[in-house]
Symmetry: C2
Amino acid sequence: MTRENAGFRYTSSFRRNLPAPAQTWSPPAKYNFAVGHNDRDEVPTEALAEAAAAVIRRHGADLAVYNQGQNPLGFEGLRDFVAAKLNRLRGASCTADDILVTSGSLQGIDLVNDLLLEPGDTVIFEAFTYSAMFSRAQRLGVHPVGAPLDDGGIEVEKLAAVLEELKRKSIRPKYIYTIPTIQNPTGSILGLERRQQLLEVARAYEVPIFEDECYADIIWRDGAPPALWALDPTQVIHIGSFSKSLAPALRVGYVAADRSVLARMLACKTDGGTAALDQMVIAEYFGTHFDSHLRELTDALEDKLRTLIEALDREFGTSVELTAPKGGLFVWLKLPDHIDVRKLVEPARAAGVTFNPGPTVACDPEAAKHCMRLCYGLPTKAEIREGIAALARVFFEETGIPERGGNRPRRLVDT
Amino acid sequence: MTRENAGFRYTSSFRRNLPAPAQTWSPPAKYNFAVGHNDRDEVPTEALAEAAAAVIRRHGADLAVYNQGQNPLGFEGLRDFVAAKLNRLRGASCTADDILVTSGSLQGIDLVNDLLLEPGDTVIFEAFTYSAMFSRAQRLGVHPVGAPLDDGGIEVEKLAAVLEELKRKSIRPKYIYTIPTIQNPTGSILGLERRQQLLEVARAYEVPIFEDECYADIIWRDGAPPALWALDPTQVIHIGSFSKSLAPALRVGYVAADRSVLARMLACKTDGGTAALDQMVIAEYFGTHFDSHLRELTDALEDKLRTLIEALDREFGTSVELTAPKGGLFVWLKLPDHIDVRKLVEPARAAGVTFNPGPTVACDPEAAKHCMRLCYGLPTKAEIREGIAALARVFFEETGIPERGGNRPRRLVDT
């Protein structure tokens, strides 16, 4: 409420190290390449409406009871679905009792962190990784150490060298956080041989693997090797999500792990359960539509990716280097070494374009200053073309690169 | 997954002070008086199914975007509804921008705690209060100090004495946590004069008030004085919930507070937003059905309360003392001083009955050992009658009290 002379009296009572206040919200940029949103046209609105009505008619009375009167691991229909999906597509052999439903995979991350981490601990991240991991590490007072990546994913020999170096200092990391299937942001899929090697190295150095497979349902073709968790369930804690396969405003993810791990996490999950309708509707809709929806969604996303790559080629030419991702919602770009994309964030925003600067997703921010991530799930194909043209224009005006666009040399104009 | 010789290898990597593992889940007792569930017959299943289908058809595409592309404070339609409800029923004059939607009021509690608390801090709880507050205080390493209650709610003069005593030790509590409107577990409503006095005392000792109004929508009649937050928004952080007014498996609550407080909380709320469908369906259904639903629900609950009081009178007679609550889902009972209800938990469970022992909701557990809370939202009227009869039987067998039941003297029987 806004009253004269108002304002909470006790800001001096706030705890130490509280994060800065959230900025006043403003609508997203016209050309939003900055967040892993999904494709608005691919939300199956009518089918979800029907699924919601059907499942509420069938199970609505259960909403009167916390956790719908069921196991607090989550809605049984959804845990059954997740277990079957992991068995069929990710090489697992699990049941619903190996699955804990979470409020988005972010809650899964928080639970893994709560299980394992204390201030001063060390964790291994891939050299470029999910940005939310860095803010969490900072808040928890733990030290991330980067493991090198190439186009095939985590470089296991180099990881072993990192672990050896830490061991020499008597440091045993609390986990190796990896996104093996559609790595974020580089878009790679770790091959089977590397998966086996990674597990061997992790066992040798006695470090658990924290496997994030939140993009694993969105792969263009040929599938992927089994999940690390499926290959060794005693070594790995696995998380997944429905944000990418269906919609991120639905806050539903899951942890798949040894039951002793789930029992510990459940004791830390003091939220009264994950939202019932989101769980019920996903279970109901995906119970019959998973394969057809994912086929349509991945086709649409791959089509947008082609549009994005064409636009980058047209507008940036040889000034950008990229490896086409094997699935997912984003592309990782490298610009010439001397570019610092951090300086381009504000000019781009002024031109209506947002993107993820490399340093925000890198263990070594300086080494990624010429890199950026572009998400293509939300913008339409027309917006992708216009947005990349606008972005190239900003880059040219600020850095002189790219010099050509649309087969014509660029020129600075008075604006 | 269960494999031979399986088991997560790294239980030695778990952090210190991790809570004990959650016990293997088993279905709730036949006569479940232990949790504030709601009435299964009062979930408006058909209307919710229609609301869900309608709102998904209207806003479904927005699910593709985190927070539905809206302010991360929460779904706009729901924040509008909450603000209007607080203005109309709780004396506030706020807008949607004064409301932060949370994943149940439990997340609101966690955010208030995250905003204010550090290990070693002191907080004021009402002498008997919400059990989840104690586990949180313990986990956070803060010290709860009890403020006396009577049938009219928190005793303000005695609270002032507690604050004075702490001040003498140079301790300024971080907040006074109060449930002024249907106090949990005692069922009282704090009168307007005491509300004013409480605010004065809190201001005098410079302690913010943390007001939990999660039962305020379920009042038998005559309403309640304005929320403390409405009386002084600079002094109070307010939370509420839809668990009691609609259904607890929907995980939706809210914080109402000064915008500077919300901006800080939002920076701590790193969950990617609260579940969209739960928010959307509540907004859609309550947008047109709030008053009619609450009238029907409170009538049904008051009817169950009458059944419970009759059953207690019949089965326990003068062995229990109770003050009928003015709303809500529970009754607070006092048994003769020498009874220790903790010893009756297991025998009652064996007879199919669960209840909340007084010590689990008391700042001074020993002083509440002869007290218990009975929730009457979930059991049917027949189950209330049968369950109270079974409970009285257990009490008689274990303690010799109550000596009479159903107008007949009880006798021990061989079983």
